[in-house]
């Protein structure tokens, strides 16, 4: 009887301990999942904040890209109306005048379309990325990013060289995150150039990877400081012009999309080259 009682007690203890272990295991697993979800959420928020800060710094260029075509459209209309009012066209053949008006209208449509295109690009870029991978064409996405940053380059007298290999394989990445990565690296390159300079973008296929080099003729980075490049809050920019989150977030985004990023070369006073590698879509999809 006593033995039965002891066995029963032990069985109850085993059941209690098992339940306890199971509960602890479930709680730990839940906490782990929760903290990884929190970290992911924080990462997305930081990336989005950084992106909005970037758009802010580009406002002069973007403003120009919108205002200038609208200014030209307005000016073409104003020129025609003033010439009409001041009797400049008084001896003009009506057919010719109509043709002139038609040309002006075509120019106005072209310029307003130009302004609308940049606002579309901007609003598309500003939307948060969903983290969904899709087939992405490197050349096409470079065009999109250069459409946003191109004027900034011209304004800063920076020459852009582009060398993209023909028949480059597509990537299987989040399209918007890919744009963000290129955008950030290009922006860093622009900020590294103090006077006139050059930025070269090269993309080629190497051993099943698409390799993108962004090389600038900027100030370069001191060798001793290169170890910290991808650390949060590290910046070589003067106070107030960099949050220091750019490269830290860029690396997280690149790795999340199956790629890697590293600084290939830098020399103070000569410039810096960053390399971004992504596996071609064919190899990434077959692995998934």
């Amino acid at each position: 009887m006593k033995l039965q009682w002891i066995v029963g007690l032990m069985l109850q203890l085993v059941v209690f301990i098992s339940i306890g272990i199971a509960v602890i295991f479930i709680i730990r697993k839940y906490n782990k999942k929760q903290s990884s979800e929190d970290a992911g959420e924080a990462q997305l928020t930081a990336a989005q904040n950084e992106k909005l800060a970037v758009i802010g710094t580009l406002s002069a260029g973007i403003n120009h890209e919108i205002c200038n075509p609208l200014g030209i459209a307005r000016g073409q209309c104003e020129a025609f109306l003033l010439n009409l009012k001041d009797g400049i066209y008084k001896d003009e053949d009506p057919g010719k005048l109509l043709k002139k008006a038609q040309e002006i209208m075509e120019k106005v449509i072209r310029e307003t379309d130009r302004a609308a295109a940049i606002t579309r690009k901007l609003s598309d870029f500003a939307k948060p990325a969903k983290g969904d991978a899709e087939l992405v064409d490197v050349n096409k996405e470079l065009d999109e990013v250069l459409g946003l940053i191109g004027y900034e380059l011209r304004l800063d007298k920076i020459r852009l060289e582009r060398e993209i290999a023909d028949n480059l394989p597509q990537l299987f990445v989040d399209r918007k995150q890919f744009q963000e990565v290129i955008f950030n690296i290009l922006r860093n390159a622009v900020q590294a150039i103090e006077e006139k300079g050059k930025i070269s973008i090269r993309a080629s296929e190497e051993k099943g990877n698409v390799v993108i080099d962004v090389q600038d003729t900027g100030s370069g980075i001191d060798r001793e400081r290169t170890k910290e490049l991808f650390s949060p809050f590290f910046t070589t920019k003067r106070h107030g012009s960099g949050t220091g989150l750019g490269l830290f977030i860029v690396r997280q985004i690149v790795e999340k999309n199956g790629g890697k990023i590293y600084m290939k070369d830098t020399k103070v006073g000569i410039g810096t080259t960053f390399t971004i590698e992504f596996p071609a879509a064919s190899s990434r999809i077959s692995r998934v």
Binding site: C67, I72, E78, A79, L82, N83, K107, R154, L155
Partner: protein, 123 residues
């Protein structure tokens, strides 16, 4: 002032087209260049009364054009038309250095630009 000789230097073809559409039918003799270096050659050859010049162009900038106009006899009047905005620092510096006028892009009144060109040519 019809007959006034203008040289417009700007790398934006649409803006050059706008200036031609406005000034040419009004009797102005307007030459244009979309490249800074070519613009400088034209400056020396055509001897314009007034130069309408962008501030930032590949291969040349406003300071260089301004310095060059100072070496010419008679010196053409230089009017900058630009979207570049650094809070007025460059504008003040170039005006102090002898630029005749400074217009922001986009131009808000072609009439005012024309009046400024006429004043510059008449001075």
């Amino acid at each position: 002032m019809a007959g006034c000789r203008i040289l417009a230097i700007d790398d934006e073809v649409e803006f050059i087209d706008l200036l031609i559409n406005y000034f040419r039918p009004r009797g102005y003799d307007i030459d244009t260049s979309m490249r800074g270096v070519r613009g400088i050659e034209m400056m020396k050859q055509r001897r314009p009364d007034v130069i309408l010049c962008d501030l930032k162009m590949p291969g040349i900038d406003g300071d260089e054009v301004l310095k060059l106009t100072k070496t010419m006899q008679p010196a053409p009047k230089l009017i900058f038309i630009t979207a570049y905005n650094d809070g007025g620092k460059t504008k003040d510096r170039l005006l102090n250095m002898g630029a005749y006028a400074f217009f922001d892009k986009p131009i808000t009144s072609l009439k005012i630009l024309e009046e400024t060109v006429n004043k510059a040519a008449g001075n």
